[in-house]
């Protein structure tokens, strides 16, 4: 399996990280959801973004995918991201597996996957990636003609990740892939995420389930109330009981 084989040329980074965020602010009306978040993700890395409910994890991802507007520095592949809209960001190789498994319920599994490839629509690349996704999630292969809404929660999450992969992204953003899913399926999904990461894909993973997130990632950032609280290697953070007690809600 070779999931990190974008149709597009690998972006030229000029020595910058693939994704670099500096002092990112996002407002929802009068509420400041992000108060200066900074982080970076190097090409080929898997980085986790953890924190308690409302810490701004999902908002950070939405800002990167350009689904919310933001201020501060947001650079992707050595270029400014803030001037792009969501469609353009997707076409530039940023692929989001949205929170709450936002699949297209009345479309079939196959149609959902093919929509993921909307940006390149290269038939042979599409078939190839589809085969990779099916190898990763055999359950999807069995349900190609079913409509998305007939899938179980875990299967819908697989579909959401599969759809994100279909774009052959350079940067994969995953928003709470374990949310509301049975522990057994969570395990399956995180095994798949590890497989994707091993193939060389750059992943930024948002999770409330700190234990699985830290074990799946190499580095992690801890957010608290819209600000950076801690960062470090996932292994170290996982060992520190005080971190979990103080920032991650137990």
């Amino acid at each position: 399996m070779n999931l990190a084989h974008p149709t597009r040329k690998q972006p030229d980074l000029h020595g910058e990280p693939l994704l670099a965020i500096e002092n990112l602010h996002v407002h929802y009306g009068g509420i400041e959801a992000l108060k200066g978040v900074s982080l970076h993700v190097d090409a080929g890395e898997i980085v986790a973004l953890v924190g308690a409910n409302g810490a701004g994890k999902s908002t950070t991802l939405k800002a990167i995918a350009r689904l919310v507007s933001s201020s501060g520095t947001l650079r992707y592949a050595a270029r400014d991201l803030t001037s792009l809209n969501a469609e353009a960001a997707a076409l530039a190789g940023i692929s989001l597996g949205p929170e709450g498994r936002a699949i297209f319920p009345t479309l079939t599994v196959r149609e959902n996957l093919e929509l993921g490839a909307y940006g390149h629509r290269d038939a042979s690349a599409m078939k190839e990636t589809e085969a990779d996704v099916v190898a990763l999630f055999p359950r999807l292969g069995e349900r190609m003609q079913q409509s998305g809404q007939t899938l179980s929660g875990g299967e819908q999450q697989m579909l959401a990740i599969g759809r994100a992969l279909m774009a052959r992204p350079s940067l994969l953003l995953l928003d709470e892939p374990s949310l509301g899913i049975a522990p057994k399926l969570t395990e399956l999904i995180f095994e798949a995420i590890s497989t994707i990461a091993k193939s060389g894909m750059t992943i930024l993973l948002v999770e409330q389930n700190t234990r699985v997130a830290l074990s799946a990632s190499a580095r992690a950032y801890v957010l608290r109330a819209g600000e950076n609280a801690l960062e470090g290697s996932s292994e170290d953070l996982a060992k520190r009981d005080d971190v979990r007690a103080a920032y991650l809600g137990g």
Binding site: A102, F104, L115
Partner: protein
């Protein structure tokens, strides 16, 4: 290509029908009904793009039909005149029909673009009001032009309708070849549109706009395109109605009132929103049921009833039957006859092979 061969066969049958239909079906009202069913299919197929696939609730389709009908009628009349008048021949229809319908599609499509713009900001009821307003404006602008004025608008005949250049009647060039041929083509195009990347993208947009944007679908472009495609299709359908053989040689604004939109919406919802098969079947049912109810009204029993009760309104009877039919269907099948499913003419193996070669 199997489907291309099928299309050629269908066109050959349509061509044959053009020369033989009046002998096969001697009753002109039955011929008219068959042609009307075809036109209505195109009406439903085009409305299905915006109401079914894109999930935008437009109730202004009659406006596009009206634009298409008037444009086609004007073009057909003037081209006919320019060709020297006289008989309506098949050879001439090869020029007149494509010209009229292409222009009808162009004008309706352009208005579709204008009406589509507010759809970016409006949803549900609000968009419905805008589209309804558009259709009523089109109808009323045409209907209220005073006859006798020298403006170009008055030449459309106002309330009495447009009866061709110099009131000679609209030359009815679109014979069965054109009507059946365009309908078959419309079904194929609608099918391909639904299954194309663009079709998937507007259906995705209907389900979840944010998720669609996140996979790279441009909501603005997709929605406006859906409106333009739907309107252009409506324009063609209106044009077909205006110049179809065995139709009436006059177009009137009242044919494009709310009832026309309502019928079109019913066809789509009855068949199943978003389903091409549904639009075809729904339009057939509505066309035939209108005719069936007319026949019922003409029966002796109903006429006797009418004779004994002076105040009985037979049109109200029609609406009652219509309503009962719809309510029953919506109870039995709330998503319409087909839902969003399709009748598959090809086996799954074939389809999968087609999938693997599809771009």
């Amino acid at each position: 290509m199997k489907s291309a061969r099928g299309l050629l066969v269908a066109l050959a049958i349509a061509l044959l029908a053009d020369f033989t239909l009046d002998r096969v079906i001697p009753d002109s009202s039955v011929r008219q009904l068959a042609m009307l069913a075809c036109c209505n299919m195109v009406v439903a197929l085009s409305l299905n793009v915006i109401n079914g696939m894109a999930g935008q609730f437009s109730i202004g389709h009659a406006g596009f039909l009206a634009l298409g009908a008037y444009v086609a009628a004007i073009v057909a009349s003037h081209v006919h005149l320019a060709l020297g008048g006289g008989d309506v021949t098949f050879a001439r229809s090869l020029i007149v029909v494509p010209a009229s319908l292409a222009l009808a599609a162009l004008v309706a499509g352009a208005f579709g673009f204008l009406v589509g713009l507010p759809s970016l900001r409006l949803r549900g009821d609000y968009l419905a009001i805008v589209t309804l307003g558009f259709a009523e404006i089109v109808r009323l602008v045409i209907a209220t032009a005073r006859a006798g004025d020298q403006t170009w608008l008055a030449k459309l005949g106002g309330q009495t309708g447009y009866a061709g250049a110099e009131d000679a009647g609209i030359p009815l060039y679109a014979g069965p070849f054109w009507i059946i041929g365009i309908t078959v083509l419309a079904i194929v195009v609608a099918w391909r549109l639904k299954m194309s990347g663009w079709g998937r993208s507007i259906r995705a947009l209907r389900e979840d706009e944010i998720a669609a944007a996140a996979v790279g679908v441009d909501p603005t472009r997709a929605k406006v395109t859906a409106f333009v495609v739907s309107a252009a299709g409506g324009g063609i359908a209106g044009g077909m109605l205006a110049i179809m053989r065995d139709g009436t040689p006059i177009v009137q604004p009242d044919s494009f009132g709310f009832q026309a939109t309502f019928d079109a919406v019913t066809m789509v919802i009855l068949g199943g929103s978003g389903s091409v098969s549904g639009a075809v079947v729904g339009s057939l049912i509505i066309t035939l049921s209108v005719k069936a109810i007319e026949l019922l009204q003409a029966t002796d029993a109903v006429q006797a009833l009418k004779a004994s009760y002076e105040s009985l309104d037979l049109n109200a009877l029609r609406m009652m039957i219509y309503a009962a039919l719809l309510v029953t269907l919506m109870i039995l099948r709330p998503d319409g006859i087909f839902g969003e499913r399709e009748i598959r003419l090809f086996s799954r193996a074939k389809r999968d092979r087609a999938d693997s070669t599809r771009a």
